[in-house]
Structures are given as C-alpha cells and as structure tokens.
C-alpha cells in the first residue's frame, strides 16, 4: 500500500528531516512509529499524506483498487492529529460530516447515516449536537477519529492522536481503536511517543533515528489479535516493550 524508496526530505531552511528512508506497508497493516522528538516522524506522515514532497527517492501510495496516486480526490485517506482540529462553530455531527461535504458525491442521506455510524463507533451517541467547547479533551479526540472513520478510509494516518490525553483516557481509546481496526482493517500508520501504545496497537513497530530520520529497527509484534487490555500486564508484553525501548535509546 505504501512504498518509500530511499526517501530524503530537505526543508527550505536546509534542515535535513529524513534521509535514506525505506519503508513498505502492506494493506490492512497497523504500523507504529516511535523515535526521538524531532526525528521526522511527523514529516513521514505528511509525506504520505501528500502535504510534503520528497526531495530525493520515490514514494508511492495506493489507496484503493484503482491505484491512485495521492493527493487525489478518490483517495480515501484520513489524517488524525494530536490537536483534534475541529471547527469550533460546528457541532460534533457537522464536524464529522465535513470531509464528506468537501469531497462531495455523497447523498445527504448517506452523509447522515455515515456520520451517525461513525459517532456511534467512537461512543459519542447523544453528543451529536454538542459543540467542541462543550466536549472534554477525550471526547474531542473521539470526534476527530469519527471524522476520519466516516470516510471509511483505506489508509489512516495518526500523528500522536492521544498525546494530549491523560493516561487513563489514552488506554481506553487505545482499546477502542483496536476494536475499530478489527472491524474495518484499514491500513494505519501511527506515530507515538509511547512504546507501550505502539506495541499494544500494532503489527509492527518501527524505530526511527534522530534527525535526519531513517528507520533504525523494525520489530514484528508477536501478539495475536484480538488483544485484550490484560495483555499490557503480561510478562512477554513488558519484555518486548523493553526491547523496543532499548533500541530507541541506543
């Protein structure tokens, strides 16, 4: 689904954000990326989203069966940031409907159905008419995820989506996100600071080097799906997370 070959990104101010980065992501794969601050994790996601262009190397992203190159109107790609980026003047339902409105091609009935389904999936039923300022941080994040899911994305890019939340909300949302993934199995690139989160969610954890970023190590996560919250307390989980952390520090 995603293929990066020897990608380098150099910003206008001369900063080398990424260099010699190789990455292949299969369809339906959940890949987590961890790395030190400022290592270019976000740049990598922006690159895949088409918000940055590579200075060197080749990037291809296929988002549906017609194999379109991004960014294109048909590509079902959704991007979730740490900041929920909801429009303050729209209530939850209208916020979730926004990408469908902008892309067009959905009947108003279909929009309504998709939006209500998505809000339902993230547990926001009953808050359709609430404005962002009336929602808690966790609920705003859920609305942001619902907005992504309403598109039925083929590829979901998540950039530290739960970074601003407290530990408890974060763990709950991790579990819910896994449930949603098991339902629809979108391909996911998930950037996080938390090794625990990365291991708990993904098939594969990539460790990136400090700037200029490239992939230092790749860990196949050996735990089968569906995963239960109890997994986090198991010896093998703790040991595996420690292995990944070791690579991160070194």
């Amino acid at each position: 689904m995603i293929r990066c070959q020897d990608i380098g990104v150099c910003f206008k101010d001369g900063t080398q954000a990424l260099s010699g980065l190789n990455l292949d992501v299969d369809e339906h794969e959940f890949v987590a990326i961890v790395g030190p601050s400022g290592c270019g994790k976000s740049t990598l996601l922006r690159l895949v989203a088409g918000l940055e262009t590579p200075s060197t190397g080749k990037l291809s992203v296929n988002c549906d069966e017609t194999a379109q190159q991004l960014p294109s109107a048909g590509a079902r790609l959704a991007y979730v940031l740490q900041d929920p980026t909801l429009l303050p003047w729209r209530h939850a339902e209208a916020n979730v409907a926004l990408p469908l409105e902008l892309r067009g091609g959905f009947s108003s009935q279909e929009v309504k159905q998709r939006v209500l389904d998505a809000l339902d999936m993230v547990g926001l039923q009953g808050f359709e008419r609430s404005f962002p300022h009336q929602l808690s941080g966790g609920m705003r994040m859920r609305a942001s995820i619902a907005r992504a899911l309403a598109l039925s994305p083929d590829l979901l890019l998540m950039d530290e989506p739960f970074g601003a939340l407290d530990e408890l909300s974060r763990m709950r949302l991790n579990e819910e996100l896994l449930g949603l993934w098991e339902r629809d199995r979108w391909t996911c690139l998930f950037v996080t600071h938390s090794v625990q989160e990365a291991v708990f969610l993904s098939h594969r954890v990539l460790v990136m080097s400090a700037r200029p970023g490239r992939i230092l190590a790749s860990f196949e996560v050996p735990f089968e799906f569906p995963r239960s919250p109890a997994l986090r307390a198991e010896q093998r989980f703790v040991e595996f997370a420690a292995d990944v952390s070791g690579q991160l520090e070194g």
Binding site: A49, L51, S72, Y79, T85
Partner: protein, 261 residues
C-alpha cells in the same frame, strides 16, 4: 435565582451610580456657589428643564441622526466585508491596497467631511456618506485578519479533503472571521454615530428637519447652552444605544460560535 441576579445587578450598578450622583452634586454645588452664568455652564436642573421643554424636537433629531448612522454603519458592514473577502482572495489586491487601508485609517475623516458634502450634497446622503467612511476601515482591517489568520492544520484538513477555493472560503475562512468581523462592528458602531453627527455639522438637513449635529450647531449659535447640553446628552445616549445593541448581538453570536466571551 431572580433575587440573586437582582442583588448582583444592584451590586455592580451601585458604585457607578453613586459616582454619577456625586458628580451631579458637585456640578450643581459649583454652579450655585460660584454663581456661574447659565450661558457658560448651566446647572443640572436647567439641563433637565431643557430636555423636558424640547423633548419632541430632541427625539426627532435623534431619530434622524440614528437613521444616518444606521445607514452608514450597515453600508460599512456590507462594503467592509466585501473588501476584506477580496483581500483574502487575491494576494495582489491585498498587497497593493492593504497599506492604504491602514493609511486611510489615520486620515482624520473629519477633515475631509466638507469635501464629501461637496461631492454627495446636503441631506441624508451626505450624512450617510460621512458616517460610512468613518466606520468602514475597522471592519475591513478586522475582517481581513479573521479571514487570513487560519490555523495551518485546518487549512491542511481542507486541502487533504480536496476542498476547492470556494469551499475553503465559505466553510472555513468566513466562519473563522465572524468573531473579528464582530469586533470590527463593535468599534465601527460608535464611530458611525460620531460620523453622522460630524456629517450633520456640514451636511445638515436645514431648519425644517434636522439631526443632533445640526442642533448642536444651532443651539451653540443661539447660545442656548442648556439646550446644547441636552443635545450632547442625547448624542451620547445614541452612541451608547448603538454600542449596547451591537455588543449584545456580539455576545449572543459569539457564545454560539465558540463558547467563549
């Protein structure tokens, strides 16, 4: 609930009200003790008399001035908004005109009011024109800021979903500009009343039908100082009424818009 809100209102109203009464007392006392001539400074009693004796005339004048100010203000809202949208849509237009919009704000409009009257003519149109020009720029500048100061993440959200320029304008820029548009309106509504009164100084309607600005000039010429004070009082009241109405509307819209203020 109601009792506490009345108590709250009383608590917040008491200090300024006390001060007001104090000022009235000092005013009255000074005029009486120093035996100041009424044509220099009439006491509060005389001003109240003047209001009472000329109430129909004052009300008619205030209505006419209010119409001129309202006309100028509404025109400024529509034109200011349109100009700001043009600025936001074209870098070239913005780059070449924005400095002048700022520059024109510093030109004392009062100084060019006579010119406007020469061009537009006497009567309501001249008054509306002066009021319009004085209240235009705060709306342009504030709205333009709101239209262009958009968080980058939101612009990218729109870009990722293939939003057209038009969609971005209608669904992102304009809604984002609502609070700053209202801030501009709040500044401008007071200015529009000033503009209407200044406009009437130069473009007054004549002795048949006149506004507060004309009345100020007339009472001054006839040294009816208590009547002049009454007119000033009405002018201030008109400005306050405008500001109060727009502020109230502002608060109403903003709480629905983003929940703050």
């Amino acid at each position: 609930m109601i009792r506490t809100s009345i108590a709250q209102a009383a608590r917040s109203l008491a200090p300024p009200l006390t001060f007001f009464l104090l000022v009235l007392a000092i005013w009255h006392g000074t005029v009486e003790l120093l035996d100041i001539q009424p044509f220099l400074l009439p006491g509060p009693g005389r001003v109240i008399d003047a209001v009472a004796n000329n109430l129909p005339g004052l009300m008619r004048a205030a209505r006419l001035t209010a119409m001129g100010a309202l006309g100028g203000f509404l025109l400024a809202l529509v034109c200011g908004f349109t100009i700001a949208v043009l600025f936001s849509q074209s870098r070239i237009i913005e780059r070449s005109l924005y400095p002048y919009a700022i520059f024109l704000q510093t030109v004392p409009i009062v100084a060019i009011a006579p010119l406007i009257v020469i061009w537009i003519g006497h009567g309501i149109y001249g008054v509306v024109a002066v009021s319009f020009i004085i209240s235009l720029f705060p709306i342009v500048v504030n709205t333009a800021t709101g239209l262009t100061a958009i968080p980058v993440e939101l612009l990218e959200l729109f870009a990722l979903n293939g939003a057209s320029r038009w969609q971005t304008l209608i669904k992102l820029r304009i809604p984002n500009a609502v609070p700053s548009f209202l801030t501009g309106a709040k500044i401008s509504c007071g200015l529009s009343v000033i503009g209407a009164i200044v406009g009437e100084f130069f473009a007054g309607y004549g002795s048949e039908d006149f506004g507060l600005g004309y009345l100020i000039m007339l009472t001054k010429a006839q040294t009816k100082i208590a009547y002049l004070f009454a007119t000033i009082l009405f002018s201030t009241g008109l400005g306050l009424a405008f500001f109060g109405a727009v502020s109230g509307l502002n608060r109403l819209i903003l709480t629905r818009w983003n929940g703050n203020r």
